[in-house]
C-alpha cells in the first residue's frame, strides 16, 4: 500500500497548488474538500495490512469534519456575500504558481536533512506536509478576503495533519479527535464572525473602517 500512500501525499501537494492558482472562492473551497478527502484516506493506506478501530475512527472523523462540514460551513458563510465570484491575489496568478513551486522545492530540500527515527513508511510524508504548511501560509499572506484567509489556515492545518495521521502512536485517539474538533469549532466561529463582518460592513460606508481602530466605549 506504500504506493497509495505516496500517491495521496503527492495529490495533497497538488491540491494545495491548485488552491493557490484558483480565483473563484467556491472553487477553492471545493478543491480544499477534495484535499481533505484524500487526507482522510491516508490513515487507511498507512496501516492497510492491519486496520484498527483507531484508523477507522480517524478516517470517519476527518472525512466528516474536514471534507464535508467545514466546506459546507464556509460555503454558508459566503452565500450572502456579493463578492462570491473571485478573490484577488496580491501577486497575480503566474507569480503565485511560481512561488508555490519554489516552496515545494524548498520543503523537499529542508526535509532531506530531517530524518525520522525508527521505521519509515514513506519518504514523502515530511516534505509533502512541510510544503502544504508553507503553501497554506502563502495563501493567507497573498489573499485579502477573510474567507480565503481561513482557507489558507485550513490548508496549513491539513499539512500538519498529514504529519499527525501518518506518524505516531504518541497521541491517544481521544486527543486527536479533540484536535480535529477544535479546528472545526475554530472554523465555525470564524464563519460566524465573517457573517457579522459582512453585515456590519454592508450597512456602513467602508471608508471609515480603520479610522478609529481601538476605540471602545
Amino acid at each position: 500500500m506504500a504506493i497509495w500512500l505516496d500517491a495521496s501525499c503527492i495529490l495533497i501537494v497538488f491540491f494545495s497548488l491548485a488552491i493557490i492558482s484558483t480565483y473563484r472562492t467556491v472553487g477553492m473551497i471545493r478543491v480544499f474538500a477534495l484535499q481533505s478527502f484524500v487526507l482522510s484516506l491516508t490513515p487507511l493506506f498507512m496501516h492497510a495490512d492491519a486496520l484498527s478501530v483507531r484508523d477507522a475512527t480517524l478516517f470517519v472523523g476527518t472525512l466528516a469534519l474536514k471534507a464535508v462540514l467545514v466546506p459546507y460551513i464556509l460555503t454558508w458563510a459566503i452565500r450572502h456575500v456579493s463578492m462570491r465570484a473571485e478573490t484577488k491575489s496580491i501577486i497575480g496568478l503566474g507569480a503565485s504558481i511560481m512561488g508555490g513551486t519554489l516552496l515545494i522545492a524548498g520543503a523537499f530540500w529542508v526535509a532531506s536533512s530531517l530524518k525520522l527515527p525508527g521505521t519509515q513508511v514513506s519518504d514523502l510524508i515530511i516534505p509533502c506536509s512541510l510544503a502544504t504548511v508553507l503553501m497554506g501560509f502563502m495563501i493567507m499572506v497573498t489573499r485579502y478576503r477573510a474567507v480565503t484567509q481561513v482557507l489558507g489556515y485550513l490548508v496549513m492545518e491539513n499539512g500538519i495533519f498529514l504529519f499527525a495521521l501518518s506518524l505516531f502512536d504518541a497521541m491517544p485517539l481521544l486527543i486527536e479527535m479533540g484536535i480535529l474538533l477544535d479546528i472545526f469549532v475554530a472554523v465555525f466561529i470564524m464563519a460566524i464572525v465573517i457573517n457579522h463582518i459582512n453585515e456590519e460592513f454592508e450597512s456602513a460606508p467602508a471608508a471609515s473602517s480603520y479610522s478609529k481602530m481601538g476605540e471602545s466605549p
Binding site: L114, I179, V193, S216
Partner: protein, 469 residues
C-alpha cells in the same frame, strides 16, 4: 476531584441558557467561581492524586497557576455583579463563555500531556473570541478577527511543534510529561530543537510576545474590562504555563542554553516594542495592553535566567494577574462612567470619582512595578538574576525600557487623574461591588510586596525544583 473542578463550570455554563434572570445568572457565575476557589484553596493543604491514568495531574506549578485563575474569576464575577447594575444588556453569552473559559483553563493547569494541553489552550482561544465583540460594532469585529486569526495560526504552529516533540521522543511512544522527562536520554536532539522553536513561536503568539503581539492592543482596546482581565491575567499565562513545561523538558535534556537564548531575544523585543509604541498612545486600554506585552516579556526573561530568574518569574505570574485586575477593572469602570477610555474624554477622575481615581493611580504604580507593590518585588528578583548571571547589557536594556514605559503610562494616567475636567459630569454613584473587587487585589499586591507568606515561598521553591533548575 480534578475532573469535578473541570466539569462543574462546564455544565453550569449550559444553565445560563435557561430562561433565568440577569441577576441570577451573575450570581451563578459568582457561586461557581467561589466553589472553584474554595476547592483550589484546599489543594494548598494537600495535592490531589492524579486522575485518568495521570493525564490530569496537579503539581506545584499547576497549583500556582490554578489559584491565580481561580482568584481572577472570583474578582471578575464579583465585579460583574456591580457592573451589570448600570448595564442594559443581559450578558448571557458573556457569562456562558466565562464559565467555559474557567473550565478549559482549569484543564490547562492540570493537563500533564502535551497534546491534551494543546487542545485545552486552543479551546480557550475559541471561547474567548466571542467575548471580544461584547460591544458589537465594526472595530470590535475587526479586533476579534485579528485575534482569532493570529492566535489560531500561532497555535497551529505550536501543534506542529508538539508533533515534532513526539518524533523527538519517538522511543517513549507518549507525550505524557513524566515519561518524556524519564526518557530524556533517548530523545533526538535535532527534532527536539525544531520542536522547541515551533513551540516558542506558537505559544508566544498566544502570549502576545513581540513581534506577534499585534492582536493585543486591538483586542484589549475593544473588549470590556472584565474580559480583558481574564485574557491578560489568565489566558496569556496559560501559554506561559506551556512554555514552563517546555523548559522542564529542556532542563532534563540539556537544551536549556539553546532554549534560553531564544527566550532572551523575544523577551528583549517584548520590552522594546511597548516602550516605543506607548509614547504616542492616548487610549488607556491600549496603553495597558502594551504594558501587558511588557509583562509577558518580563515573565519570559525570568524563565531564561536560571533558577533565581524562574523563581521571580513564577512569582511575577501571580503579581501580573493581580495588577491586571486593578488595571483593567479600573479601566472598565472608567469606560462605563465616561463612555470612552481616551485621555481627551476622560480627565479629572479624582474629583468626580475619588475612589476610581485612586485605583487608577494604583494601576499606574502596580502596573509599572513601583514600590511597595509586589510587581516591584518580582521584577527586582528577575533583574537581579540578570546581574548575578553577568548579563549587564540585558539589565541596562530592561531598565531603560521599564523607565520609558513608566513615562508613557504615567503621562496619560496622571493627566486622566488630575487633569482639568473637560465638562461637568453627571456624578453617578460609585458601585461598592466593583470597587471592592479592585480593592482586594490592590491590597493583596501591597501585602505580597512587603511580605511573602511561608507557604507561598515553599510552593514557589517546590515549583522551581520541579522545573529542574
Amino acid at each position: 476531584m480534578l475532573i469535578f473542578l473541570i466539569l462543574m463550570p462546564f455544565l453550569c455554563a449550559f444553565l445560563v441558557f435557561l430562561p433565568i434572570g440577569k441577576k441570577s445568572r451573575l450570581w451563578l457565575l459568582f457561586g461557581v467561581s467561589s466553589i472553584h476557589a474554595v476547592i483550589a484553596g484546599s489543594f494548598w493543604r494537600e495535592l490531589p492524586p492524579p486522575e485518568f491514568s495521570a493525564y490530569l495531574t496537579l503539581d506545584p506549578i499547576g497549583l500556582i497557576f490554578l489559584s491565580v485563575i481561580s482568584f481572577l474569576f472570583l474578582s471578575v464575577s464579583a465585579y460583574m455583579i456591580g457592573y451589570f447594575d448600570n448595564e442594559k444588556r443581559d450578558g448571557r453569552t458573556l457569562v456562558a463563555c466565562l464559565l467555559f473559559l474557567l473550565s478549559t483553563m482549569t484543564l490547562v493547569s492540570v493537563s500533564y500531556h502535551m497534546g491534551l494541553m494543546w487542545v485545552a489552550i486552543e479551546t480557550t482561544t475559541l471561547f474567548s473570541a466571542p467575548l471580544i465583540s461584547f460591544h458589537r460594532n465594526k472595530q470590535s469585529l475587526e479586533a476579534t478577527w485579528k485575534y482569532l486569526l493570529v492566535c489560531s495560526v500561532g497555535i497551529a504552529l505550536a501543534l506542529l511543534g508538539t508533533f515534532f516533540l513526539a518524533i523527538a521522543a519517538h522511543d517513549s511512544h507518549t507525550l505524557l510529561l513524566p515519561e518524556l522527562l524519564a526518557g530524556q536520554g533517548s530523545m533526538t536532539i535535532n527534532w527536539l530543537k525544531l520542536s522547541v522553536i515551533f513551540l516558542v513561536v506558537g505559544y508566544g503568539c498566544k502570549m502576545g510576545l513581540a513581534p506577534t503581539h499585534s492582536w493585543k492592543p486591538e483586542a484589549y482596546g475593544q473588549a470590556t474590562g472584565m474580559v480583558v482581565v481574564i485574557m491578560a491575567g489568565a489566558l496569556t499565562q496559560c501559554a506561559f504555563l506551556a512554555l514552563v513545561r517546555v523548559s522542564q523538558i529542556c532542563f532534563k535534556t540539556g537544551l536549556y542554553e539553546f532554549y534560553s537564548s531564544i527566550l532572551v531575544v523575544t523577551a528583549v523585543l517584548s520590552l522594546i516594542v511597548p516602550a516605543v509604541f506607548m509614547l504616542g498612545e492616548r487610549n488607556v486600554k491600549r496603553l495597558f495592553a502594551y504594558s501587558s506585552v511588557e509583562h509577558m516579556g518580563i515573565l519570559v526573561l525570568g524563565l531564561s535566567l536560571g533558577s533565581a530568574g524562574i523563581f521571580g518569574s513564577l512569582f511575577h505570574m501571580i503579581n501580573n494577574a493581580l495588577s491586571k485586575v486593578v488595571m483593567f477593572l479600573t479601566a472598565g469602570s472608567i469606560a462605563q462612567k465616561y463612555g470612552s477610555s481616551r485621555v481627551g474624554d476622560v480627565r479629572g477622575v479624582i474629583r468626580a470619582y475619588p475612589v476610581t481615581g485612586i485605583f487608577l493611580l494604583f494601576a499606574l504604580f502596580g502596573g509599572t512595578g513601583m514600590f511597595p507593590f509586589a510587581t516591584f518585588h518580582s521584577e527586582l528578583m528577575i533583574l537581579n538574576s540578570a546581574i548575578m548571571s553577568g548579563r549587564y547589557i540585558l539589565f541596562v536594556i530592561a531598565i531603560i525600557c521599564l523607565a520609558l514605559i513608566f513615562t508613557g503610562l504615567g503621562k496619560v494616567v496622571l493627566e486622566m487623574v488630575y487633569g482639568e475636567p473637560t465638562e461637568p459630569i453627571l456624578a453617578r454613584k460609585e458601585n461598592f461591588m466593583m470597587n471592592a473587587a479592585i480593592a482586594v487585589s490592590a491590597c493583596i499586591m501591597i501585602v505580597l510586596g512587603l511580605w511573602m507568606p511561608e507557604p507561598l515561598k515553599k510552593m514557589l521553591q517546590d515549583a522551581v525544583s520541579m522545573i529542574g533548575a
